[in-house]
Point group: C2
Chain length 343, copies 2
């Protein structure tokens, strides 16, 4: 049975295991530094569908299917699936998951969705409500671009602070049963509060989300009485370069330095020199695909033992921004470890 710790942290008792994970990505992501890490790379980003939205659903569906195959599970072996995405009314997830007939709990956390879903799946498994639960999310550059910004055909210019929405999906299966070899356990989760420091520039999401990331890491360290050096990696979702710098600065005001442990999925997914992604990658699929490929692989290989995965979300819509609202952010955190218990 999980235990509440301090303000916002939930500690797992039975250390749920990441039984398998899978990633499906688009062409650009498949040309980046992680190209050897993904399960499937679609070379025209359409996933053989007629529209970008259907392409996103298909990509998410393939990620779940691949994860099930890697874990040698049927969809009927999974009790609950937690999922969401950036598309209006979360149609990436709802249409992508339709065929599986797994009880579905829809989430919305913008780009924090992978951490949010993984947290809920872990809580369900740890409390005996599921022996297997899936967490999955996605984003697609083309569906996001026309929904949040301009149709691709418009060819709008992007400022240096802008980030590149990843065409990617990542799925993870959390379960009770250990796998052979090194296991990755979910040790605790920390759920964020909404933070809003008044950023109104929708082309600077990293800055809008950094205060939420600072709140969550600070709260988690307090709740667990741990320090940054207890972790090998503190990984944010998609702050990009601008948001990362701001996060480090905000934490330093509270005398917390994470610069040695910190990295950001938005800075890992692409080669910023050659791939023209400006401040870095973004989108639900950015952190999901980096976590579910390289990070979990490196943990299983014993290269990383204690990882804090913290995905951040900007809780705005094009409508709220047009109406002059500032951009609230949120960050949820997952403590992953190759050790089942103790410190």
């Amino acid at each position: 049975m999980s235990k509440k710790l301090g303000r916002s942290t939930i500690e797992m008792e039975n250390a749920p295991v990441i039984r398998a994970s899978a990633t499906v990505v688009g062409k650009k992501e498949g040309e980046g530094p992680l190209k050897e890490e993904f399960d499937l790379i679609n070379n025209d980003t359409s996933f053989s569908q007629e529209t970008w939205e259907k392409a996103e659903s298909e990509m998410l569906r393939e990620a779940v299917q691949t994860a099930l195959q890697k874990a040698s599970l049927n969809s009927s072996d999974v009790e609950f699936i937690f999922a969401g995405d950036l598309l209006n009314q979360c149609i990436g997830a709802t249409y992508g998951l339709r065929e599986f007939q797994i009880p579905f709990i829809g989430m919305y956390g913008a780009c924090s969705t992978m951490a949010e879903s993984l947290a809920m799946a872990s809580i369900f498994v740890d409390n005996g409500l599921a022996s297997n639960a899936v967490a999955v999310t996605s984003s697609h550059f083309c569906s996001a671009e026309r929904q949040f910004r301009f149709p691709l055909e418009y060819g709008g210019q992007r400022p240096p602070t802008a980030q590149w929405t990843a065409t990617a999906s990542g799925a993870a299966i959390v379960g009770t049963e250990e796998v052979s070899g090194m296991n990755v356990y979910v040790r605790s989760v920390c759920m964020g509060t909404i933070q809003d420091l008044g950023i109104t520039d929708a082309n600077n999401m990293g800055a809008a989300m950094a205060p939420a990331a600072a709140w969550t890491i600070k709260t988690f360290l307090e709740d667990t009485k741990t320090k940054p050096s207890d972790y090998d990696l503190i990984l944010t979702g998609d702050l990009g370069q601008v948001g990362r710098d701001l996060l480090l600065e905000l934490l330093l005001k509270d005398n917390i330095s994470i610069s040695e442990q910190h990295d950001d999925c938005g800075l890992i997914l692409y080669d910023r020199e050659s791939q023209d992604v400006h401040a870095g990658g973004s989108g639900c699929g950015c952190s999901a695909s980096v976590l579910c490929s390289q990070i979990l692989r490196r943990m299983r290989a014993g290269e990383l033992n204690e990882v804090l995965f913290m995905a951040t979300g900007a809780l705005m819509s094009p409508t709220s921004v047009q109406q002059g609202e500032s951009i609230p952010g949120i960050a949820h955190l997952i403590h992953l470890s190759t050790r089942k218990g103790g410190n």
Copy 2:
């Protein structure tokens, strides 16, 4: 500690209590049959805001604030809040909840959100992860109309199968501590799977959602080995007249008759004769406001003892409908009882 029962039901062990509930509605809802039941009625539906979207956020904020006041709780007494709504990127909830600084878990279940959020809040309380958790959702006729259909100024005609999106918000606080007088307990929850029988008419949401409702009620009865006559009321969220008829018909094929116990929030909220709402009310706020006002009041008064509250959601978007997709539905169920245990 909650217990998984059968395919998709989760039984509470400690019978979490609904400590308080609150409803805030618009003018039309305040002129309907439930006008004496609501906590706040806003007479111009703008909630003193400049836009319909901000009005919806303000309405949701007021519902949470009123529920907290009724339970004599501060926001710092609430460990987690589960919320979502119909607006793109759920901005009704995110902007409405920003000021409370309660750890926030964003949900998306379309019009099933009240049941989905209440299920998650109950699971958290039952497993000792929160002593108080809030479930809240909202919908606003004007923000929904322009997002899903046409701007109000267009004056589009509505077919007889169309439903009327309620301007309403309902919030419920689930907790461990009983209140004075009659208590309402959450006894179990049943999470739905996505059902899609191929309906493509976005003006006939009731029909699109009915198969999901049928799946969930059937699964719940099987999982709990109970029958419709064990309940005083089986309440769907917003099927309206067309969806209700279809639900009864679908269940009869499985030899399940709920016609004596069944009612629908979409048929309770308005006077269909005089209020011109066609097939009935809809929107996340429809079932939330009916549950959190009349239904819980009648339970506390001992008029109803065993209630199944099942909210249904249509998991489409205007984009998916325009692209020719059919409309998947989902339904989540909450078993509420004035009895703490036993049958």
